[in-house]
């Protein structure tokens, strides 16, 4: 039992956080709870503090919309929060799509698809191109280009305001991740993930690898959704400093050798 808890402690906490945030939003919509209202695009905390998706704000800016102070404040609060916390905490602790893609990835491992298809046929840098393209298209079309197709928004709006045909978008992502590309959506395509990768480099919470304890079982690389960030495992004692790390903590909890742990970023270079 303790072992089970140890091996899934961050996963359980992440699911609780994701579900709790969604329930608070649902309460805000249906029962008028005054804790957090709106959705992940923009919300109001305690009815006063604005919170806004900085990537959506960026698209609005590119589209030529007049940006209100309220929106700037909200986007700044969110940006600073994730900047300090570090690498894509939004993706693995808040975003509801993470539950879908994690499920696909879990099934992929259980069905041993990864053994059949060892090399992934696409680059993880596609997302940065999508990010750039979304801003260019927003500028050309004068609308927030990604917000009109975003499966993330479709999903959280479906949860908070009602489903419609939103299930189709979720299913497509699930099947894409399961059959087409390992970590396809979150790890290759999603421009919001690319955005948080870019600002998350500074973040203070980092996974730390201790090479001396490592037995090179590679369990961590097996479960990691962005396993390129774990290049140092069994080679060198380093902190995972790549912004693409989602800080999901899966590597920490599956490591039976205590070779991976959460730590605070070392700001000074050690000699």
């Amino acid at each position: 039992m303790t072992n089970l808890y140890n091996n899934y402690r961050f996963l359980i906490m992440r699911r609780l956080t994701q579900v709790a945030i969604m329930i608070l939003y649902i309460g805000g919509n249906y029962w008028g709870w005054n804790f957090i209202q709106g959705n992940l695009s923009s919300s109001s905390l305690f009815g006063t503090i604005p919170l806004s998706d900085p990537y959506a704000a960026l698209q609005m800016f590119a589209a030529g919309a007049i940006i209100t102070t309220n929106l700037v404040m909200g986007a700044l609060i969110i940006t600073v929060f994730y900047m300090l916390l570090g690498g894509r905490v939004f993706c693995s602790w808040v975003c509801p799509v993470n539950i879908i893609t994690d499920a696909a990835n879990y099934l992929r491992r259980k069905l041993e698809f990864n053994k059949i298809q060892k090399r992934q046929p696409a680059s993880r840098n596609i997302r940065y191109w999508v990010l750039g393209l979304s801003l260019v298209l927003s500028y050309i079309l004068g609308v927030t280009a990604f917000e009109f197709v975003s499966p993330i928004s479709i999903t959280h709006r479906a949860i908070i305001f009602g489903l419609g045909l939103g299930w189709a978008a979720m299913l497509v992502i699930f099947l894409f991740d399961l059959f087409v590309l390992k970590n396809g959506w979150c790890g290759h395509v999603c421009p919001l993930g690319a955005f948080y990768s870019s600002i998350g480099k500074i973040g203070l919470i980092r996974v730390d690898h201790n090479e001396e304890k490592c037995t090179a079982c590679m369990e961590c690389k097996e479960v990691c959704p962005e396993n390129q960030v774990l290049f140092m495992v069994s080679k060198e004692s380093l902190q995972v400093l790549d912004g693409e790390c989602t800080n999901c903590g899966r590597c920490v909890e599956v490591c039976n050798d205590d070779a991976l742990n959460f730590s605070i970023k070392k700001l000074l270079k050690e000699k």
């Binding site: 805000g28 919509n29 209202q37 709106g38 959705n39 695009s41 923009s42 919300s43 109001s44 604005p50 806004s52 998706d53 959506a56 704000a57 609005m60 589209a63 030529g64 919309a65 007049i66 940006i67 209100t68 309220n70 929106l71 909200g74 191109w129 999508v130 393209l133 260019v136 298209l137 927003s138 050309i140 079309l141 004068g142 609308v143 927030t144 280009a145 917000e147 009109f148 197709v149 928004s153 479709i154 709006r157 479906a158 908070i160 305001f161 009602g162 489903l163 419609g164 045909l165 939103g166 189709a168 978008a169």
Partner: protein, 260 residues
Amino acid sequence: MVTNRRKFILGTARTAGLVALGGLMWSAYVDEVTANKLILRPPGALKEEDFLSTCIKCGMCVEACPFDTLSLAKPGDNKPLGTPFFEPRDIPCYMCVDIPCVPVCPTGALDKKSVTTNNELDINISKMGVAVVDTKNCIAFWGIQCDACYRACPLLDEAIYLEYEKNERTGKHAFLKPIVDSDFCTGCGLCEHACVTKKAAITVVPSDLVIGSVGDHYIKGWDKADEKRLTNAHAQINTTKISEKSAVDSLNDMGGLLDD
């Protein structure tokens, strides 16, 4: 010969091709879904073009509406995804005096200024759309007495008034025809909601779609205010080769037309 340079050029071209293809499909889709003109927005909404770039799709207006009038467009609604709209035949806008949906908007896509007179919120000046009567299928135009829309209108006798006319067919009854005054109609849709016909004979549509514009060339001479537009007007005279002389002279001038 496979050199690094050739590899690099091919790689770059391939990426450029993929980005162009993706961009084309993406923009075509977005352009298509945002082209819907038949959509009614909450009070105070910016004009559609600006609204689409400014609305962040958070649903704060939807949550603020006490009548559940507003909803966010879901996949399958065939409307710009995630943006708020209402369908008055189902639930109209009840025109709350404190307009709860507008001040909560974080991006100003619902503009408080456009629904404010003398520093106070004023729902009566909002322009969500305008009601249009289908005179063929409105039973009041048949001569049957019905004033459902007129009674439902929150700006009764302003936005909808009744025009009385003798019914020549019976010779002893009156038509009570509902007429919409687009100067006052807010597009709340309470009339469409109240209409007794199977499919409403009075419908709210976005104002842009049906409201015309006369242009500068016509002036209401009987209207003092409109007449004022003439005070600083001045004629612009074009002189061409034939208009140098007076018209009669010009016509009588046979020079060059007849043989000598």
